[in-house]
Structures are given as structure tokens and as C-alpha cells.
Amino acid sequence: MTFISPWLAVAGAAAMALPILIHLFLRRRQKPIEWAAMELLRRAVQQSQRARRVERWILLVLRCLALLLVGLAIARPATVTAISMNQPVVLAVVLDDSVASRAATSSTTPGQTAFEAARTACIESIRALPSGSLVHMFTTSGSIEHTSEAVLPDRAVAMLGALEPTYEPSRVRQAVDRADDALRRMTMPGRIVLASSFSRGAIDTEAQVLPATKATLEIRDVGSDDTGTAAIVSMVQRTLGPQSTGSITVDVAVTRPSHEEARRRIPVTVTDVLTDRAATADAIFIEGSPRAVATVTLVVDPALTEHAWMATIPSDRQPADDLRAATISTVSADPVLVVDRERLDIDEGSSAQWIERALEPVAGMGLAHRRMDPSDVRPGSLKGSTSIIICRPELLDAAGWAECSAACESGALVVIVPPTDETFVEWQDPCAALLGPGVTIRRDQVSHDPPQRLQPQQPTSPITQLIASELTELVAPIEVNRSVVIEGPSTTLSPILVMDDGTPMMVLATKGRGVAVMFATAPVPSWSTLATKPIFVPLVQETIRQGEVLLDAGGSVTIGLGRLPEGTTELRPIRGSASQDVSLTIDPAGVIVGDEAKPGIMQAITAQTASAGSSRTESLVALNVDPAACDPQRNDPARLAAWLNQTLTTPSSAVTVTNTTQSSTSASVWLLVAAALVILTETLLGRTFSVPEPKAT
């Protein structure tokens, strides 16, 4: 007899000491009490104390016994099943060939990867089989599917020798389930051998892989950090303060499954690829949101006009997850462009000024911005600009609107504010066209008397996700006196803020690779109190920050190995001695052909540029799949075995991990029943022994 969780049995035994300690502690703590009627007390003690002392010890023993039984039941007693060495069996070999198995682990021979060690272990198990045995082969990546029939041991050894580790994540559960299914179809006794390094990367913790047994597996308890499920999805560069300071901030958006902890910090490191400078900041997840942004500030050389950065999650050293975690941005530093006339005295209190104050409430702190006269918006003038705020749409001509629309489609954020002055210029149509097909903006402004307020429950929007928890409070004081009516299909426009009558006060539209946001009211006192309320600064800044996170940077930003830029035919390393002379070819499906992927920053070469013979960098790709650099954390094999035993459906098949154990559920149940009986007995005896309440003399 052994225990699946022996430490729980020890804990149960240790817990037994608790009532004893409490008993002794309470005995010693009491201060002496002065009493006058000592003779009466002495006679009473002589009558009852002796019997009561025996009763108390009985109760104490019962309580200790109950705790011990509960501890033993939770520890799940198991029996070691011995399988006869001479009996032919069907051996289901489950080999971990995931990307994590490429890592060299401390438990294996120096230079040997986890995959090689696992393969060796499998071969040893096969060779130890008695004659007449058969072997089923399975891999955690699903790379081989020999489930239809079992093979002879020699054949299995040959197959194992031909196997290589993959770049696929590990799917232990599915592989073991397949092995279990195969064994159930066999008449001979079955056994499963799962050979794996059991590192965290070797066990996929995604919910869809372990739908019902995640809690049972308790993977998260095994490792010290569960950031392995987080992934970097985008990275946007932003300037902080004047360019001369050389400080640049980078917003890195990180996602993680929604079932993770409500609030959690994940450190994100951004490394300048060319200078090796690095900085780290935390992405703080807010309850209910699977997405968070880490704002990392980097020192850069002001003389350089272009930079390349790589964002990583330092604590996430699992290759299975890192496959999705590399992002690079080559966007050059640019301030937010505010399209309005140059600042004049008569413009005091204009939309542009309120917005500029919100962008940079304190000089040097916030989002850098610069003015651009509407007449200067000409073809090509907005190139390289990521965020454009149009405060005077009525002053844009057709060429200006075309440039804005083109910028938005190519991956820019365009924010539009309605004009505050009465104007006969028809700005509504080009503006609606920029927002998307089917969108209309009514020509007449609507005056609200009494002023419109905003709905307390605002719709969920990616723009307001970080201030969502306070949104009800923030929108409460806003009063809208005038607004324009923006209408359009819900497939094009999604509301960010909505007024009491249901009309949107702020809408979001996706256009091409870019995003357009439009206010239905102007942030000036004559239109609304929006600009004077506490919501305005966070709303404007979040509009820029979150809006840019939503941008699909396309050719300039590439996410990981799985999403190469469209048309990429070749990857050339731009740094890193290990990959200096390696060029990777990409097939039309976007899969790397030939050698395995090398870590580092790659130039992605498109087919067109390659054929023209003038190779140029269309984009940079970060490949940080470096198994040698990994330090996988090991899972507890005993706990894994317990999980596998519990989830398997065939009682006859046992899983061999480090030893063969079969949990005796019935023993646990009987122990719990015994504990319940002891507790019941203790309660009944306690009531029998208890002294009735005295009546006043």
C-alpha cells in the first residue's frame, strides 16, 4: 500500500497533533481563579471530574482519529500493481516529440535532448518485453498514427529510431487517450509507457486540450509560474517626450486565456535588436479582460531613424508557447498628428486644444503630438504617421480626405471630431466614406434640450477596456448639448460610448488595416461637457493607445513563426552568430522548408522582391524558438501519473511513468466513510457527555 499523494497523509497525521496542542495550550493558559465556596467545589469535583476526564480523552482520541482518516483518504491510497514479467502484453508507447523535447534537460546526459532520452527509454521498455508482446506507437504531437494495428517490438524500435522531434506543442492527453482506445480493442493485457521530460512545455495547458480535467491535472500547481499561456500579439512604438531625449516607449499587447487569474502581472521585455538595449515592464491584466498592454520605455540613439525591437516574456521559457510569442515592429517614432490650423488666439478653447491637453496633460509626459494644417494634408504627407486626429474636418479638401483614407487603410488610426463652427462645407460625406461603406452622417446637428446624458451601462469596446470598471462613474457627469448623428451597419460601426437615447457618442470602425474612431460631439463646452470631465484625458489617451493596438500593421509587424508576412519566400537572419549563414526558404503555405528554424531576427523576403533581384526588407520576423536556451520546469511525474490514472477509462490499462500505481478510489471512500462515522460518534458522545445549562439558584 502506498499513497498517490503521500504528503497529504503526512499532513493528516500532523493535523492530528492540532487538537492535542490546543488541548494542552488551553490547559496551560488559564490563570488561577479565586473562589470562596471551595468546599462545595471540592465535593463537586470529587463527584464528576473523574468520569469527565475519561470522557474528554475519548473525545480527543476520536477527533484525532477523524483528522487522520480524512488525511489518509485525501492522500488516496494506492496499490502497486505488479505485471508478470513473462506474460505477453500490448505496450502502447507514447513518445513526447513536441518542441519542448528539443530542450536539453538536467536529468539527461549532457548534450542529449529530452527527446533522445525519451526515445532511449521507450526502446529499453520495448526490449524488456516478453516474447509475443506487441507494440503500439504514439507521439504527443500526433506525427505518427499507427493506431490501426500493433507492431512487433523490433519494428517498433526501428520506427522510433526514425523519429525526430517536431515543432508542435505537446498533446499528452490526446496521445494517451488514443493509446487507451487502442488498448481497449486488444484482448491481451495492456500497458502504456509515456516517455517525456514532463516539462511544462510538454503538457499543453490550453483549455481545449484538457476540457474537463484541468482541475484534476493541477498543472498550474506544479510550476512556479503560469505565464506560459500568455502570448504577445502586437507591439507598437510610441515616442515619449521630445525626440532629443532619445526615450521611446513601446506598447506591447499581451493576451492570455480568460480562465486565468483575474489580475496578474506579466513582465514583458523589449530588446532593441540592433543595440541589445533592453527594458522590462509589466502587463497588468484586469478582471474579465484577456488582453493587457505593457508600456516599455527604451533609450535609443536619436541619430538612428529606424529601429527593430523584439518583445519577449522573460519568465515564459517554454518553446511551445514561444511559438506564438515573437513580435517585431519597425514602425519609426512618430507623434500623434493633430490636424487643425496653427494655434491662434481666436481659437482658444478649440477641439484641438482640448485634445492636445488631454494627450499631454503635463509637458513631456503623455503622448507627443504635433500640429498639421489641414491644407498640408496632401498625398504622401501622412506616410509614416500612425495616429491622426482630424479636429477640423470641414477644412480638408478632397485630396486631404483621400490621403486620410489611404493612411487609415494602410494601417493608421484616424480619429475624427465634428467641426464646432457653423459651416456650409459638406464634410459629412467624405468623412462617412472614410468610416466605411453604408455609413452616413446627417448634415444637421442635433441640439439637445435638456442635455443628453450617457447610458450608465456602456457597451464593451476594446478602446475602453482598461477603464471599463470605472466607466459608469466616469460617464455619469457628461452632458451633451449638441451632436451629429452617425448611422451605419453594425458590421461596420461599433459603438464605444452611447447616449441615453441610444445614439452613439463615439464609434469605432475598421478600415483596411487601420482603425477609424469618430466622436459624435465635439469636446468643447458649447457642444458638451466632455472635455471638462475626468473621463476626457483617459478616454483620449486610451483611444490612441488601444486604437493603435488594434491596427493590423501588416507588412511592418509580423507575429511569430505561424504568421509570416504574406508572400514571404525567404527568411534571412540579420543578426546572431548562430544563424549568420542560414537562409530559410518558405513554401507557399508559409511553412519553413529545409533546415529547422533558427532563432533570431530575420528579414522576410517576398517573392516579388526576390524575383526582381533587389532584395529588400519587407519586414522583420523574430524567431526565438531556441530549445537550447530553454530551461523547462519539470512536472511531478507522480502527480501526472495520478492524473492519467484518473482520466483513463480502461481499468485494465495502467500507465507507467516512474512506477505503476493504481489509485484505490474505494479505499479513499471507505476512509472517508470511517471518518464521517467517527465524527458522528464524536458528536453524539459530545452531546451525551455535555452538561445541561444550569438554572439560576
Binding site: 488551553l26 488559564q30 481563579i33 470562596a36 465556596a37 471551595m38 467545589l41 463537586a44 471530574q49 469527565r52
Partner: protein, 322 residues
């Protein structure tokens, strides 16, 4: 011992006085007083209150013949009168160590000793002295002669019986003493008091009576033998009466008893049974001699309990006369 500047009013709360006002302390037995009072005297003939007719016998003074009856019935009857006198009361307060037990906070306006004020607890001794003071005041207001004694293993202080105006102040001084580290011996104290007592006296003994019941019985027998009346006022703390403690701790006696490890939850019932048995024994002993016993809970006011006791005695005496 005496507290300089102690005000007599400290011992009587207005509440207690109000509750006692309707009652008069009457001796159940015929008082043997020397002054005119309201208590029945064994001596007849010299008072104004008519008692009964008796047939004339030779030797009777003809001054008491009832001539009206002779005129109507032609028979000689002598009129008898009942003389009323005052009552002698001696109040004995137990000043032993066990009386220094108390679990109630100090009662404002109820007097109490310096030790009480220092410890902030209202002890059985405090309750006894307050009750004694109330009784003494009542007696003095009826012009009865009253004396007070505080005793433990013997008398520790005493004030002779008197009905003078200064008596109250002397009584208060005597009651201002504190319990001593000794056990209460009712027999020794009663012996000392009897040596100073010539008239029939009502002895009021205020104690917790937690000592040996045999000693108390012998003291009461001696009082009965000398023809005195007695009242036993048992002062017990509320916690002594209920043992409302949930502790397991060593208990230390106030009169030098050895410490005792007690789990009050386990012995509460047995203790209460023992207490009941003890009080019933005291009650049986007292009633065997025709004496009253009243248990006082020190957490409750003196007045109602004392008033109930006096009312009961008044009813018994009044009913007997009618």
C-alpha cells in the same frame, strides 16, 4: 479601621430606603425592652393597650376590676393590659476572608470598603455591611436599640446596643472595617456577644455560611437556649449561586484552601446540587429553632430581598396577634 469623614448616607441608597419604608421591624418573639415601643412585652398591667379579661382571683388588685362587666353580669373580671416596648437588635457581620469574594463591579452609592473601591468589585462583605446598615437604620428609626459586631474567628469590632442619636455613626464606623484572613466561627462570636447581652435580643447574622454547618448549629442552639430570636442572612455572590463560568483552571480558596483544578463545564451540575444541599441544611437547622433564613444574591439590590423578609416576619407576628 474607621474611615474618617465617612458619611452615614453612603450606606443607604435612596432606593433601599424607599423599599424598606412601608415595613417595620418587629420581633417575632416578645421583646424584652426597657423603653416604650411598638413591640410586645411579656410584662403586663402597666400599659394602655387592652389585652384580655380574666376572672378575679384573691389577691388581685381591685383597681383593675371591670366594673361595667360586674354591673351587667354580676361577676368579677379583671382587665389585663399589654405593655409595648422597644426591640434589642444585634447585627453580626461575618468579616472572614471568604466574604471578600465578589464578581460584580462597585455599586455606586452603596458604600463599601476601601478595599472594594481599590479592587473595583462588590464583595459579599460589602453586601453584608450594606444590608446591616439598612437594618440598623430601620431599627434606629423605630427607636429600637441596635448594636453591630464584625467577627471572624472572634469578634473583631463591636458597637453596643443603643438607640441614641450618635449610634448610627458608630455603627457605620464599625462596618467600615475590612475582612480578615481568618475563617468565620459563629459559635465563638455568638458566645462573645451573649456575654454582653442581658435582654432578649434579635440576632441578625450576615454571613455566606460556607463554613462548617455544625458550628452554626451549635451557635443557634445557644441563642435558642437563652431565648433570643435570630435571622440568618446568607450573602452569596451570583457566580457562586450559578457557577456561570466556562473555564478549566486552578481554583484557589480565599481561606487558605489548596488549589483545585476544575473544569467548570463538567462539574457545574454537581456543584449546584451541592450548593442546594448545603443551603437546605442551613435552612433546616435554622427553622428547627424557629429562625428565619434568607439568601441574598450580591448582584441584586438589598432592598427587595430585605423587604420581603421583613414583610414575612410582620405577617407572622401580626397574624399571631390577631
Amino acid at each position: 479601621m474607621a474611615t474618617p469623614g465617612l458619611r452615614a448616607e453612603q450606606y443607604l441608597s435612596p432606593e433601599t430606603l424607599a423599599q424598606l419604608a412601608p415595613f417595620e421591624l418587629r420581633a417575632k418573639m416578645v421583646a424584652d425592652g426597657v423603653m416604650n415601643g411598638m413591640h410586645q412585652s411579656p410584662l403586663q398591667g402597666m400599659a394602655v393597650e387592652f389585652a384580655a379579661h380574666r376572672q378575679y382571683t384573691a389577691g388581685d388588685s381591685i383597681r383593675h376590676l371591670d366594673w361595667k362587666v360586674f354591673g351587667r353580669s354580676d361577676k368579677l373580671y379583671v382587665k389585663e393590659y399589654r405593655q409595648e416596648t422597644n426591640l434589642d437588635v444585634m447585627i453580626l457581620v461575618d468579616g472572614s476572608a471568604s466574604m471578600s469574594f465578589g464578581t460584580l463591579g462597585v455599586k455606586q452609592g452603596w458604600g463599601g470598603t476601601d478595599a472594594t473601591r481599590r479592587r473595583g468589585a462588590w464583595t459579599k462583605f460589602d453586601h453584608a455591611t450594606a444590608s446591616a446598615a439598612a437594618l440598623a437604620f430601620l431599627c434606629l428609626s423605630q427607636r429600637d436599640r441596635v448594636g453591630v459586631a464584625v467577627g471572624a474567628d472572634g469578634l473583631r469590632g463591636a458597637v453596643r446596643k443603643s438607640a441614641t442619636r450618635d449610634q448610627w455613626r458608630s455603627i457605620v464606623r464599625c462596618l467600615s472595617s475590612e475582612p480578615v484572613e481568618a475563617r468565620f466561627s459563629p459559635a465563638a462570636c455568638i458566645n462573645q456577644l451573649l456575654a454582653q447581652t442581658s435582654h432578649r435580643t434579635l440576632f441578625v447574622i450576615l454571613s455566606d455560611f460556607l463554613g462548617d454547618p455544625e458550628g452554626l448549629r451549635s451557635a443557634l442552639a445557644r441563642l435558642r437556649h437563652r431565648g433570643h430570636d435570630a435571622m440568618l442572612l446568607a450573602m452569596l455572590d451570583h457566580r457562586e449561586l450559578t457557577l456561570d463560568l466556562d473555564v478549566e483552571a486552578p481554583f484557589i480558596g480565599l481561606e487558605g484552601e489548596d488549589a483545585l483544578d476544575v473544569d467548570t463545564r463538567t462539574i457545574r451540575k454537581a456543584y449546584l446540587d451541592e450548593l442546594q444541599r448545603h443551603l437546605q441544611l442551613i435552612d433546616r437547622q435554622a427553622r428547627a429553632f424557629g429562625y428565619d433564613v434568607q439568601v441574598f444574591d450580591t448582584h441584586e439590590s438589598v432592598g427587595p430581598v430585605l423587604a420581603a423578609l421583613l414583610s414575612r416576619r410582620e405577617g407572622m407576628v401580626g397574624g399571631g396577634r390577631r
